[in-house]
């Protein structure tokens, strides 16, 4: 039984829009129909479906598919009722097959690549298989951030730190981590404002430092504007802003516009305080050092990005530090 990617029995999760072409669809983590309003730098990474899943319920014990990677990377995870069944590298096998699904009705989730855009041509189940969409009732979590949130170095797509946190806590994840991005673009705030959400997290600063995007007169205001825009349609939703995790070379060294990570953490904390004092009762600040501090620097081989093991530790700390406090 051949299943087209726009089949209503497939539930696309953790993506923002689908670009539909003859014969394939491409998942995006921005609104594809407004692509020209987004900064050009974000497009490549918005086409990488980090945290995205194709979900459905079936009794099939085998599953085949045809998913073509556009880039050089493209790992795909298959999970059944949450348990990892297998991982394929789409760059080697765009036509893949799994024959080891457990019997009986179950939730099947194909976790899409954290790195590399893809074109989904089709899935295939044995004839006579039951197939039904997945109605996800879990709270929706929007996680905005940088490459560290995109977590390209994770072992496989379902091992990014937001994926681990979402599964453990039972959240319906939309990962809005974009490598080299997270510049608090107002258009991103508007996109988040317009998406459904039960919990919103923002981790901002590392690329703003690295690319001198905002100065001491604009950084805090960009964040305040970002939160206010989201609040226009999510007035009471729990929202947490975290500051950058540990990054030794950037802690005290000024960038071209005179910011360092210590100053940026203070600016973020102060923005959150100001918004709280003006009536935001469900906004929280968590220091990134409490999630990934200098004690974990051995899990950060390039001194900026955690490695695969580091992402697991980051997820554990996020669960204990952020989720326990904000979204218990």
């Amino acid at each position: 039984m051949l299943i087209r990617p726009n089949d209503p029995r497939l539930t696309w999760q953790g993506i923002v829009s689908l670009q539909k072409k003859d014969g394939w669809v491409k998942p995006w983590r921005i609104q594809h129909d407004q692509i020209g309003l987004f900064p050009e730098d974000i497009l490549l990474h918005a086409a990488e479906p980090a945290g995205g899943r194709i979900s459905f319920q079936t009794d099939a014990t085998s599953l085949a598919g045809h998913i073509v990677p556009e880039g050089e990377l493209g790992l795909l995870d298959l999970r059944c009722d949450g348990a990892l069944i297998g991982t394929v590298d789409l760059t080697e096998t765009p036509r893949f097959q799994f024959n080891n699904l457990p019997s009986g009705m179950k939730l099947v989730e194909l976790w899409l690549p954290a790195y590399g855009p893809i074109r989904v041509h089709s899935l295939e189940l044995p004839d006579e298989s039951a197939l039904a969409p997945f109605s996800d009732t879990r709270p929706r979590w929007l996680a905005y951030g940088s490459s560290i949130t995109q977590s390209g170095a994770a072992k496989s797509p379902s091992h990014t730190w937001p994926s681990i946190v979402a599964r453990e806590r039972g959240l319906n994840l939309t990962c809005l981590g974009y490598c080299g991005q997270c510049h608090l673009d107002p258009i991103m705030a508007r996109m988040i404002r317009d998406l459904k959400a039960d919990f919103i997290s923002i981790c901002a600063g590392i690329n703003i430092y690295g690319q001198n995007t905002f100065s001491p007169v604009t950084f805090q205001q960009a964040l305040i504007g970002f939160v206010l825009t989201i609040r226009d349609k999510h007035p009471g939703t729990p929202m947490v802003v975290t500051s950058p995790i540990y990054c030794a070379p950037r802690e005290t060294t000024s960038n071209a516009v005179g910011l360092n990570l210590i100053m940026m953490r203070e600016e973020i904390a102060s923005a959150v305080d100001k918004l709280k004092s003006h009536g935001d009762n469900n906004l929280h600040y968590v220091n990134g050092l409490n999630i990934f501090g200098p004690d974990l620097s051995q899990y950060m081989p390039d001194q900026v990005h955690p490695n695969s093991e580091g992402y697991k530790l980051l997820a554990r700390n996020y669960l204990d530090t952020v989720i326990a406090q904000v979204f218990p």
């Binding site: 309003l37 900064p39 510049h183 508007r190 690319q211 305040i224 504007g225 970002f226 206010l228």
Partner: protein, 333 residues
Amino acid sequence: MSHTIRGDDPRLTWQGIVSLQKEDDWVKPWRIPCGQADLFPEGVAIQAQRPSGARIVFRSDTASLTGDILSEEDDCFLDVSSNGRLCGTVDLTNTPQFQIDTLPEGDKLIELWLSPASPIRFRSITLPGEATIERFEDSRPRWITYGSSITQCRAAESPSQTWPAIVAQEQGLNLTCLGFGGSCHLHPIVARVIRDLPADFVSICAGVNIHGQNSLSPRSFCPALVGFVLTIRERHPHIPIVLTSPIHSQGGENTPNAVGFTFAMMRDEIATAVEKLKTYGDNNIQYISGLELFGPDLESYLSDGLHPNAEGYKLLGKNYLNTVIPKVFHHSA
């Protein structure tokens, strides 16, 4: 007998302000919502207390009036006009009490143009006992103009001779000037202020402070501008919006700042932002180069290589009337 009118008297119309801070003995005009001042960047909060372009307006048949307006800083002048004609300028810097005896006979519109340089505390004005006083309802189109010190114009000859004031009076617009010296950084919260004000025409002049203070980079400038306009459009979907780039300044044109930005690059970015917005359905947005408003030919009217002097602001006002206004108000005089 005379009657003394306090700042919150309903017969006075405060124009060109965003909020009025009310204390026991005085009121103070702000160009941001004063109750949220600490959510704003400090630079904006400071400049927003200097009421550039703001007026206290009423109708009266009085030939004289006295007033008690305290200046908080230096260079605090007040223009008094009658039916749009300047009748006198008073210096409030050291003496809050002033008197004007030169108003023409008969019922007229009286406008007190407030200082672009100093915050004020308005305590009262006093009219002779027999004088009439009535509230003025302004039916002219509302114009909000956002910019830097060059829009705030503290070097103008007097408060009613800033370039936005000149344009507004000539074209018949109800001006709200949001020029914030040193502080035009496309802050999203300022876009929200504009969004939430009534407006028939919005103009934005951005770039000079962003260049001078390295506040937005080639990565963040265009997105900030697009976001700024989209926010305004939430509640003003169809009104004319004009974006202008920096006016001439030798220092900024081709000299990269700390993040690699020049005025020339910024002009391209602003034009690009406008094109993007048009592509996505904005039918009433325009880009006009600042060089058309104040080009290198006017270099001698810059006092410090950056800011026009009093005469330069008059020329800028005239050029704005000739260049921008006809593209926005097609039946303009």
